[in-house]
């Protein structure tokens, strides 16, 4: 999406970084969505085709742990971007570039929490239900 005619200087690089961070706030929900789709899709095919549901369940639970780890990692990055402990600013309501920077970190951090919970919720059926009935 970079306009390749403009000269690439420091300011532009910083801007490109922020442009990526608007997408970055959706990173954790995207991980949730992928986890959800893969769990549902794989289980549906397994049950329809009579594959080994036990193995698939185990594999998906490992996958769930991986998804949770990925969300933790994304959440940690966004916590550092928000950085409320050093700035002392929890709401970032002013119109400066650094407020926008911290705000996007804050939003991404909160979305990581909700995605983390979402992955746990969606993993529960894998743990609690054993077969395709």
């Amino acid at each position: 999406m970079q306009d390749d005619r403009a000269p690439v200087d420091e300011e532009l690089q910083e801007f490109a970084e922020e442009r990526a961070s608007l997408l970055k706030i959706t990173l954790s929900p995207v991980i949730w969505a992928l986890h959800f789709v893969i769990c549902y899709g794989l289980v549906a095919v397994t049950c329809a085709k009579g594959w080994d549901i036990g193995a698939v369940r185990t594999g998906l639970m490992v996958f769930s742990v991986a998804a949770l780890a990925a969300i933790l990692w994304a959440g940690w990055g966004s916590w550092r971007q928000w950085n409320p402990r050093e700035t002392g600013d929890f709401v970032n309501r002013r119109g400066r570039a650094e407020d926008r920077h911290h705000f996007l970190g804050h939003a991404a951090f909160l979305l990581s929490i909700i995605s983390f919970l979402g992955v746990i919720f969606v993993s529960l059926p894998l743990a609690l239900l054993g077969d395709c009935r």
């Binding site: 959800f36 549906a44 970032n92």
Partner: protein, 855 residues
């Protein structure tokens, strides 16, 4: 950078951000008056019959809201007939068939003709005001969308007058709907597909508007919450509506040509429709709910007289709900016999979505608790909304548990639940918004006394109607029955619900009377009657059509509270674009994240062409209902001609001058191409929706493979592999030639670029022909396998056809001086289209060519 300088467009020059000295410098009175006169002429609303040619967001927005309101009232009247029929047992007011038509059309109209269009209508009306923009980036697209909506809506809703309305329920389940005789199902499919296209057009407009037309300085962390919701909902429309369009496409092929997509006797599967419908249908509930609750997010800070508590939390809530809402669709299908473990995923996600939804409600309550609340009329409606929505949410938590749903499925408990969520989540907040924003768009106030009457009538009537329905449902009364025997304990409850329905109707009568009663004698209203802090309340009273006098530099979330000099400076024309030097319509385009000014964008003015284009597009969708295919083809061709004329004459024309004074010492380019231009973003977003529809078709293919032991059926003929490979090759060459033409043109090698643009359509036509030939010997009515191959081929061939038209459009642009090495927006947009198309082609060819070997 090797390119010659003459193809390089200038960048923004001058001071940004403006200094306090620049802002405090007064504007001479004479200059100010001259600027105002020029702006007024540029933005004048056409009069007389030509009023219909208006494209300004204020006019289109008013038509849109009023039309949606009328459809809502009509659907409400249908509800009253339904309730009257059910008032007493064994009633014979209407026949069973008429009753089926009534509830089908009531649901369809409320969803497709009221709830979703109302979001688009209100957003078109409000968004430029909230963002301090003159207009939306594509005003004619809004107008086109509105006319499509009007034509499609009138077509669908009037079917009941001819006793041919759809009658298979608002979700049109096959085989009931596929085998239903008469045109009812076709009216539903084609009429509503047409409106869905309009919805996607509005989504494109709103997303690009929010991303690119914010006022300078309004970074993403200070934009009004409404804009965040618009962004989320626009994104959701792009992923939710296309699966339904794909489903409609398959459904109509089955209805018209007997291709057995949903017919199990020939390998089809009715469950595919249920999946496609609810992948659309459940996010749709949130598409309706989120923008309405966004209205609450605008009203609550105003009545609490303080900034919203937890801005980031509400953003989290909107984005989080947007995502999670796509993981809920199967909770409408709990009783279809899917494995419990699959149901478990959806049950879990349905419970999880309560978390973000709850967070935003708590953020609202927190704002009210820490603020000094003034109980205005809009706040009364919001309070009612929160109460009713919470109750609907609680029954939602119950229904998300699969075992409970098994019991309550298809009973009046569901009817009660969905009305609690939709009245609380949509109707009440929207009415609150009408009271709150009426002074903004009509420059008049609504009556406090009538408003309170309407509120209490609707609030009490609503609870009287729907609270007993929970019990009616739990006592076993199924939905969609036209009558019931006495003695089952349902009689009294039904009578109470009917009485309540008429009380709701009385409340709406009061509300509508308040809206339409003449208000000429009302004195001029104050400019900011609620003492709100957001930009829309800088509007001009009495009304001016220019949107904003000058586009402010915004540095706070509530500029009217925190930037006290702003209003006077806007009025004086001290800020950006205070003038219309050529008396043409213009607005400011800014960057996506930080809203730095980057371009002065010319926006289009009044025209008949959008009306004509919508009329012909309507013909292309409506004539097939009656199997008048030649008329539909002619109408479609004329629609394409209209749209081409519209694009050619008014979009991406090379400007007379390259840069323009935007005010405050800033000179901005007047032309942009590629990712810097709004047109490119419009194309990108449109194609994202298109790709989703295509993905739904591919999903269909794999769905059949999953659900059946023998797909493709053994011994079935396949698509001709050599021709499939040829199609992939030709279309890839056409894509490469298009991208090559863009590059050569930029290198000022115009002749070579034109040659590419001559060869590219030839390659594309060859590819499309090869693709169709590869499936030609197969009989699509024999089995779902050849049918789905045919559907994929048609989808890609039609897209190749559109790609060919675009290639010729660029060639003509190059020949007639519209497209030059310097001004090349068109070919950037066309290349982008081809990127998406070639990907779809490669996926299709892989599926068609490799399926026989792999499965």
């Amino acid at each position: 950078m090797t390119r010659s300088t003459e193809t390089t467009l200038p960048a923004a020059q001058g001071q940004y951000p403006p200094t306090e000295d620049m802002l405090s410098e007064p504007v001479p009175a004479a200059e100010r008056a001259a600027q105002e006169a020029r702006l007024r002429r540029a933005w004048a609303t056409p009069r007389g019959l030509r009023y219909l040619t208006a494209v300004n967001n204020t006019e289109v927005g008013k038509w849109y809201t009023m039309t949606a309101l009328v459809f809502m009232l009509l659907a409400g009247i249908m509800a009253l007939i339904i309730r009257t029929q059910l008032a007493v047992p064994e009633n014979d007011l209407v026949s069973a068939d008429r009753f089926n038509q009534l509830f089908t059309l009531h649901g369809s109209a409320m969803m497709f003709l009221f709830a979703v269009p109302m979001f688009e209508a209100i957003s078109i009306l409000l968004l430029p005001g909230l963002l301090g923009a003159r207009d939306m980036p594509f005003p004619r697209l809004s107008a086109f969308g509105y006319w499509c909506f009007l034509i499609g809506g009138v077509f669908v809703i009037s079917s009941i007058l001819f006793d041919v309305a759809p009658r298979a329920g608002w979700f049109m389940y096959p085989p009931l709907a596929t085998q239903d005789e008469g045109p009812g199902s076709d009216i539903w499919l084609l009429g509503l597909s047409f409106i869905e296209v309009a919805s996607i057009a509005a989504a494109v407009e709103l997303i690009v508007g929010t991303l690119k037309c914010r006022p300078p300085g309004m970074r993403v962390n200070i934009m009004p919450l409404y804009a965040w919701y618009v962004l989320v909902v626009g994104g959701m429309i792009l992923f939710a509506f296309p699966p339904l369009i794909a489903g409609d496409f398959l459904f109509e092929l089955e209805r018209s040509f007997d291709w057995p997509f949903f017919d199990p006797t020939r390998g089809g599967d009715p469950m595919l429709w249920q999946h496609l419908f609810w992948i659309f249908g459940h996010p749709e509930v949130y598409i309706i709910f989120l923008p309405s609750i966004a209205i609450a997010a605008m009203i609550i800070p105003t009545v609490a007289r303080r900034p919203i508590v937890g801005y980031s939390w509400i953003v989290l809530s909107a984005v989080g709900t947007g995502f999670l809402s796509f993981g809920l669709w199967v909770h409408h299908m709990f009783t279809t016999g899917l494995p419990s473990i699959s149901l478990g995923f959806f049950s879990a996600a349905s419970e999880a979505v309560v978390i973000p939804t709850g967070i935003q409600i708590f953020a609202f309550l927190a704002t009210l608790m820490v603020g000094r609340v003034k109980m205005t009329l809009p706040m009364l409606w919001i309070a009612g909304a929160l109460a009713i929505f919470t109750m609907g949410g609680l029954t939602g938590v119950m229904l998300a548990l699969a075992p409970f749903d098994f019991q309550a499925h298809d009973t009046y408990f569901i009817v009660a639940h969905l009305h609690y969520t939709l009245f609380g989540g949509m109707v009440f907040p929207v009415i609150a918004g009408v009271y709150y924003f009426f002074p903004f768009f009509q420059k008049k106030l609504l009556s406090e006394r009538l408003g309170r009457w309407a509120f209490w009538l609707i609030f009490c009537g609503f609870n009287l109607t729907f609270l007993p329905m929970h019990l009616t449902g739990l006592w076993g009364m199924p939905r969609r029955v036209y009558t019931y025997p006495t003695g089952l304990g349902w009689d009294g409850l039904n009578m109470i619900s009917t009485v309540g329905a008429f009380i709701i109707a009385a409340g709406f009568a009061v509300f509508v009377w308040d809206l339409i009663r003449p208000k000429r004698r009302q004195p001029q209203i104050p400019r900011n009657p609620w003492d709100a802090g957001t930009l829309e309340w800088t509007h001009d009273v009495p009304e001016e059509a220019w949107g904003v006098r000058s586009i402010p530099h915004v540095t706070t979330r509530y500029p009217l509270w925190d930037q006290p000099e702003m209003q006077a400076r806007m009025d004086a024309g001290r800020y950006y674009l205070p003038d219309a030097s050529e008396e043409t319509r213009e607005t400011l385009v800014t960057s996506v994240i930080d809203a730095e000014p980057i371009q002065v964008q010319r926006v289009t003015g009044p025209t008949w062409i959008t009306l004509l284009a919508a009329g012909f597009t309507g013909g292309a969708f409506i004539f097939p209902t009656f199997s008048w295919y030649p008329a539909a083809i002619v109408s479609g061709a004329l629609a394409v001609c209209c749209i081409l004329y519209w694009l050619w004459t008014s979009t991406a024309r090379p400007p007379q001058v390259d840069t323009k004074d935007a005010g405050l010492g800033l000179r901005l380019p007047t032309y942009a191409s590629g990712p810097a231009s709004v047109g490119w973003w419009g194309m990108w977003i449109t194609m994202l929706g298109d790709a989703t529809a295509f993905a739904s078709l591919i999903f269909g293919f794999f769905f059949y493979w999953t659900s059946q032991a023998d797909f493709p059926p053994p011994g079935s003929p396949h698509a001709e592999a050599a021709l499939v490979a040829l199609a992939a090759g030709c279309l890839t060459i056409s894509w490469a030639l298009t991208v090559g033409a863009r590059w050569l043109n930029r290198q000022t090698r115009v002749g070579a670029a034109r040659l590419c643009l001559i060869l590219a359509p030839l390659a594309a036509a060859g590819g499309a022909t090869a693709l169709m030939s590869s499936v030609w010997p197969l009989d699509p009515t024999a089995h779902v396998y050849p049918a789905v191959l045919w559907a994929l081929s048609i989808w890609n061939a039609v897209h190749a056809g559109a790609g060919v038209i675009m290639q010729f459009y660029c060639l003509a642009g190059s020949l007639f001086g519209k497209l030059t090495p310097r001004y090349d927006a068109d070919i950037w947009n066309v290349s982008l289209y081809w990127h998406f198309h070639v990907l779809a082609v490669l996926v299709t060819c892989a599926v068609m060519g490799l399926a026989p070997g792999v499965f």
